[in-house]
Symmetry: D2
């Protein structure tokens, strides 16, 4: 699972990501697309905060969910869709920093079901700390 | 758990909600505040969609998470904060409709930990259908 | 979802339950089989305890998991199998009492995926209190 | 988190494990105790199976839950107890093999809350494969 995904996969995922109104509205961007692993970055703007000024768990979860979904999609044929079935996420620490970065990693890619690990890091002055960790189930629809 | 919460509780929760940059940015609004139960409504705008035009699971989760957090807060003293520890959510159906409505309901309010049920309905022409269901753990910080 | 399931369904589920070595070894028994809802009861014997003498969360989860699986199976054709995909469970209180009772209830039965609510009650001198609550995803295999 | 835990920690955890009636009844044993990581092994006996002869998800979960709980306990003072708050587990493959091995690893040990990763492997003729993966929240009680 090292290195970048193929150009075809990167184009397919980028095109799908750009159709996600929510990701654009939040200001999220795709930062890395590898086979079975996708990174999404979100700047800590006032538009994504909760009541104390930290990144809202809902925004943290949203990019984690998308990162997992696209990680699953990197391993599937071009015509497949991979709707999310469920996920669980623990908030470990307030999501502070200049930006947060979600990493979705495929743990198991089955014929029908895929399971991903979700991790979100807060990044401040280049220092990274884990702020959330989760697990997600996706369904492969052809 | 019937009826509205007291004016003090409603004011406290409304003030906190209005400080959540994410809720404002998504266009979410508080629809009901009862003791142990809070409803949040989100209109199905292009700004909250995934790649097929349905409401993004991240937006669905975000209002569910906030609804549970504020439901927990209705049962705590004015100076308490109730950070979310974790939640799990199943997406049951595409979140379609004119708007979606998340309902957070306290299942158990302990001294330190609170557990909420999360439900999200898609509402179309007045017809409601369950699109997501989850469970959330919160921590009471005084 | 009221009343008992048909004789065919009850026989099918009872036969499957009796093949579960774990349920027999724990001393669990099927207490009720309704369409979309199954109850399993477990006596509080020393063989199912954790270090403080309460029912072990693993035993609580095991009967909750089986109750959900069989609840899903009541709604499927005779030749289907419904392997569990995942579940999440919150322990709300120590599982004390003469016995515990797990109730699995189908929240949504789809063509491929079924989602159940899991509840476990501690029962002492006829008094019931909720000791665990969860949510489970199952996969329909034909 | 390398190496074995101190003798004091190993004794404390072994003594607690031996008081768990369920672990003894299932035939589970502590296989490794490191700081922040505990392994528990369970032989694939008929007493722990589901209806198809594989290890029951309830038994798989039970040893995973205990492994996480004891992993958390390795990092706490002798007088602390660490009751489980909740966990979520995905079954990735049928739990086949001569035995299964659960590994609980502390991801974050906070003052009040600890989060563990749970992994269960099926072991057959020395070959290991991941059969379940999960995440657990525990509460530190002093």
């Amino acid at each position: 699972m090292e290195g970048e995904a193929s150009a075809e996969v990167r184009e397919r995922i980028t095109a799908s990501f750009e159709r996600q109104g929510l990701m654009r509205h939040l200001g999220a961007r795709l930062a890395h697309i590898a086979p079975g692993r996708v990174h999404i970055v979100l700047a800590s703007r006032p538009e994504v905060t909760q009541q104390h000024g930290y990144v809202h768990a809902g925004a943290t979860s949203a990019i984690a969910d998308s990162a997992g979904g696209y990680a699953a999609l990197t391993l599937f044929p071009a015509d497949a869709d991979v709707p999310m079935v469920e996920y669980k996420i623990n908030l470990l620490a307030p999501a502070v920093g200049d930006h947060i970065e979600a990493i979705g990693t495929v743990l198991r890619s089955g014929r029908t079901l895929t399971v991903c690990r979700l991790e979100v890091f807060g990044v401040h002055d280049g220092q990274r700390s884990l702020v959330a960790t989760g697990q997600q189930t996706l369904f492969c629809l052809r």
